[in-house]
Symmetry: C2
Subunit: 190 residues, 2 copies
């Protein structure tokens, strides 16, 4: 077995998700996960610090996605336009075909308090990277922080609704609905 | 010692914060905390499930505060007016005189990954209670969810800035500045 088994992180992730669905996350062990994946515990701990981290492999793409968001946003877009267009054009396509998988993963995460807390960290990562991107576009520190929080809220809420829905409505449509509703909430007159 | 020592939770909280500042949170134990507070470990575990929870006693007031927010908000206020006025009139006064204490507490929380994750849960609690309150005011589910997320963002960002600042500017002023900036970010024209 090579030191860097190709696809090892993905195989361990899939094995951990399968085992958690079968037995509950609290009941499964790293040796069970590695046995299911056909890998060693040494390989596991080369990729992940603990059993919890193996469920959050999706975070590794966040820096790339955030860089794409700001690289693809035309300079004259408003902050809400950056959020709406980049979530639609850069983020939504990455979720294509993943709805069933993400529903299973969400079910496991919701079942365990430690996983739920860990999940919240993703929001912080998005907010921090987003604030840097908006500052680079010339927003002051306060506005950049708020714009990034809005982006994190829109993606969280839109993906949540997409996973909840029974219809086949595309995520991009739900993102548009969510950004429109956000503007309505903020600008609603008395 | 009575079964429900008066002020036991507060004394344990203070003792834990002092010890964490002196030795680092990772290094301290529940017996050390209870010895400092002059209480028993049995009393500790009557109040808290583990060492981490004793630092988050402030959360116990959240349901009361959220109920006050919505009870005090006139029916004709817009969602952003509910957020701005209630944070100024209901939430900000509760922070009066606590800046030095909250800075120390924030320092301890930031020093430990487990505490940072636990801290993020408070935002979820605010967002859930807020969404229920806004639904009761007639917002649809999506708008109520977004309004509550906006409220959680404003309070997080405003309190963070208040703790960061060297000036004696009141929290209420920073909340107003933050809600104004939020509206500017969302409504900014191209």
């Amino acid at each position: 077995m090579s030191r860097w088994e190709p696809g090892a992180a993905e195989r361990l992730h899939t094995a951990a998700l399968e085992l958690a669905l079968e037995h509950g996350f609290a009941a499964i062990t790293v040796p069970q996960i590695t046995a299911r994946a056909g890998l060693t515990t040494r390989t596991f701990f080369r990729h992940f610090t603990d059993k919890r981290e193996v469920l959050f492999t999706g975070e590794s793409v966040l820096p790339t996605v955030m860089a794409q968001v700001f690289a693809s946003a035309a300079p004259d877009l408003t902050p809400m336009e950056v959020i709406a267009t980049s979530l639609r054009d850069v983020v939504a396509p990455r979720f294509d075909g993943l709805r069933d998988y993400l529903r299973l993963l969400r079910g496991v995460i919701r079942s365990d308090e430690g996983l739920r807390e860990r999940e919240l960290r993703k929001r912080s990562l998005i907010a921090e990277a987003g604030a840097a991107g908006f500052r680079d576009r010339g927003l002051n520190d306060l506005e950049a922080t708020l714009a990034a929080q809005l982006a994190a809220t829109v993606i969280d809420v839109a993906v949540g609704r997409w996973l909840d829905e029974d219809t086949e409505r595309p995520l991009a449509d739900i993102i548009l609905e969510t950004t429109t509703a956000m503007q309505a909430v903020v600008t609603r007159p008395s």
